[in-house]
Amino acid sequence: MDGLFSIVPLIILAPFTGVLINVFFGRKLMPRRDSVAPGVIASSMAGFSFLIAVLMFFALLANPAGAEVPVLTWINVGDGDFTLHIPWTLKVDTLSSVMMLVVTGVGTLIHIYAIGYMHGDIDEKAASRGLEGEEALDFKRRRYARFFAFFNLFLGSMLVLVTANNYLMMFVGWELVGLCSYLLIGFWFDSPEKNEAGQIIGVLNSSAGRKAFVVNRVGDFGMLLAIMLIFWSFGTLEFDDVFARAECMIEAPQAECLTLSAAELAPQGEGEAAAEEHGEGEARALTTPIALGPFAPTLGVVVTAITLLLLLGATGKSAQIPLFVWLPDAMAGPTPVSALIHAATMVTAGIYMITRSNVLYAMAPVSGMVVAVIGGATAFVAASIAVAQFDIKRVLAYSTISQLGFMIAAVGLGGYIAGIFHLATHAFFKALLFLGSGSVIHGMEHGHHHAHGQGEHHDAPHGEDERPFDPQDMRQMGGLRKHMPVTTWVYIIGALALAGIPPLAGFWSKDEILLDASLNSTLVYILLTVAAFFTAFYMGRQVFMVFYGSERTEAARHAQESPPVMTIPLIVLAGLSVVGGLINLPVGGLHPLGRWLEESVANAHIASFNILVATISTVLALVAIGLSYLLYGRKPLEEGEADPLYSTGPVFTFLNRKWYWDELYAAIFVRPYNRLGDFLANAVDWQFWHDFVHDRIIADAFQGWAAILSRPIDLGIVDGAVNGVAQLVESTSRSLRRVQTGYVRNYALAVLMGVVAILAYLAIRFLV
């Protein structure tokens, strides 16, 4: 069975093959407007990856220890004391296997969904640009193939990340994922998101992509610093070696541990022993000095620094306070992209990374606490913001941030199993919700076109203000239950799962997080519980606003169910959302996922089910849903009616404006940065550097020097020498030409001179 591990590189190879096919042949694969070949290729590549992931799962069942499959050596420099050896080796263990299954499984379903969704989306964009006939077909060919190339690249990048066996390779995947998010969020980079009135609605897609990229760079900067610090301290970047050496350094001096590698370490028992030991040694300070240049901080300080820097990376990628601001704007991308980013690929990277580094976090309790508090705070803040949003995807975006806060809080408190568990279940229902919202948007757009296609130009005011048509605005929906039954039902399932209603998937995983929180930190527990309450409320609000009540616009009245290629993935995901909790059912000491992850997560501990915590959260969720029913369900919003939450006045505005985070960042970072950039560009670079240093000092000095060189030296000496030689030759020849008199007798005289001279010479020779 071990041999089966060796096929794991195919899991990465398949999506990248799909990328190449779609990049080079994607356009040729679309002879007609309704061709789906690029999407089918991308989906089958994703499906193939999923198949490999399943095979890996079975291989791990037989051999839970997993394997490391070397692909190639990337960096190999240095010798003796200093070596940097970075292989590209794929690590297959239970943790990465869970990630692979989630990423490829959910990813595949999203790929399939995108086959249908992107057809509609691209047609819509082509129509809005006034493209027709061959132009529209060409536009569609390019965009469709490009989309699936990016999509496969995204999937492959995430797999590079989760299969890495060292921090640097993980960083490669980390950056690739960031790049893909930039490419996909800005997929409609040339589209200003204008409505028919010519007004710009929503953010510009390219600036959203840029924002995601730049904000992620901040986190990546922390990640990179952490990686450097790890290498400096431990002399390696491979996960197992780093952890083995870190644990070794608790007891022994640094130098003794630097040659240690995980392979030499006794395999199973000692690792756990170290974990145990660490458990009781938590109070004990980690005082081993670590040589870092001129400093020698203690191991505890170093590990805390490393873990905090890693946390900075995680807050960037997993959208936590303070770096979460990019995620809501990432809604600008096509809906399948949102689903892929939120559910399967990008944002889970931070949780995975912290879980992977659990040994280090266990050694740094301060960092763990910081992580937990940040997670809890993020969960609370984002959930409260989600309550006051009107954009269907924006609500889900803040919901994602909030749920990621749950996971981060869990891993910060040492509940790695709970965190990964929630990651998996969240992937199911969040993908479901996003794809469902995509289906709603698709239906709304369809209805909009249908309504206007019949010539009933119906731009009458629909909301509290004269708002143009926006297929994502929940205030313009309502009553979609009648038009989109399948979407409605799967959406309700997803919402209930997210709200944490038993026995759906979200209940089990969220409950386990709350349990860990209740055991370790009251503050975090309270934050998370309130967040869970908000979660149930805003999901209830969303469902009631979107699917119940009466249609508030013509578009909603003409909305249409999506095609099967979109609804079937939804149904599959709905099924997973229902039964997803089974993978870690805490009944009867089962905990399958916990047992599974124990193999690879050294500090995993299985929490037992607590009926009190479960009851509190369930009751709160039900209360929140009831509240939302009171506000939105019992008396649905009518056309032009304002949201009942407006009655809370400034509180609502505060939440609607997202706690003014963007404004705060604009004031603290963006505007000073722009001003600094302006100053640097205009004052320092242009005026000082260009005008003064270059034009005045360097150019003038150069010209002065050149003037010296050109006039006195070049013209005077060099040209003088050349011209002097020429003049000498000229004057010499001018005088010599007078010899050529043209008189024959002169020549005869000259001949005679020669004759006399030669004769005299011969005579002297003869006579003397």
């Binding site: 030409r737 007078r738 050529q740 008199t741 043209g742 008189y743 024959v744 007798r745 005289l749 005679l752």
Partner: protein, 107 residues
């Protein structure tokens, strides 16, 4: 008829006479500017040389010298014919036999 024995003077006398006549010929070439006179001077130089040839032929009793003189006379005849023809041609265009007029090759 001159008795050949009457003329048994030392060879060096002839050499001196030959040299003097040759030098006069040279002076004529260099000093006169009339083409005809220059040709006459050249003839004089050739005759001076012929005299030396014949004198040595007599003292060495070798007829080769006399044959050479014969050739020289022949060549001189050819030379005079060509030279005078040239003078006639030049005179036709320049209306002069003064070779100092022919300085169009001046550098």
């Amino acid at each position: 008829m001159l008795n050949e024995t009457v003329f048994l003077v030392p060879t060096s006398y002839f050499v001196i006479l030959s040299a003097v006549l040759f030098s006069i010929g040279v002076a004529g070439v260099l000093l006169r500017r009339n083409a005809i006179l220059i040709f006459m001077s050249v003839e004089l130089m050739l005759n001076a040389a012929n005299l030396a040839f014949v004198a040595f032929a007599r003292s060495l009793l070798d007829q080769g010298g006399q044959v050479f003189v014969f050739f020289v006379m022949t060549v001189a005849a050819a030379e005079v014919a060509i030279g005078l023809a040239l003078i006639v041609a030049i005179f036709r265009s320049k209306r002069s036999t003064d070779i100092d007029e022919l300085n169009s090759m001046e550098g």
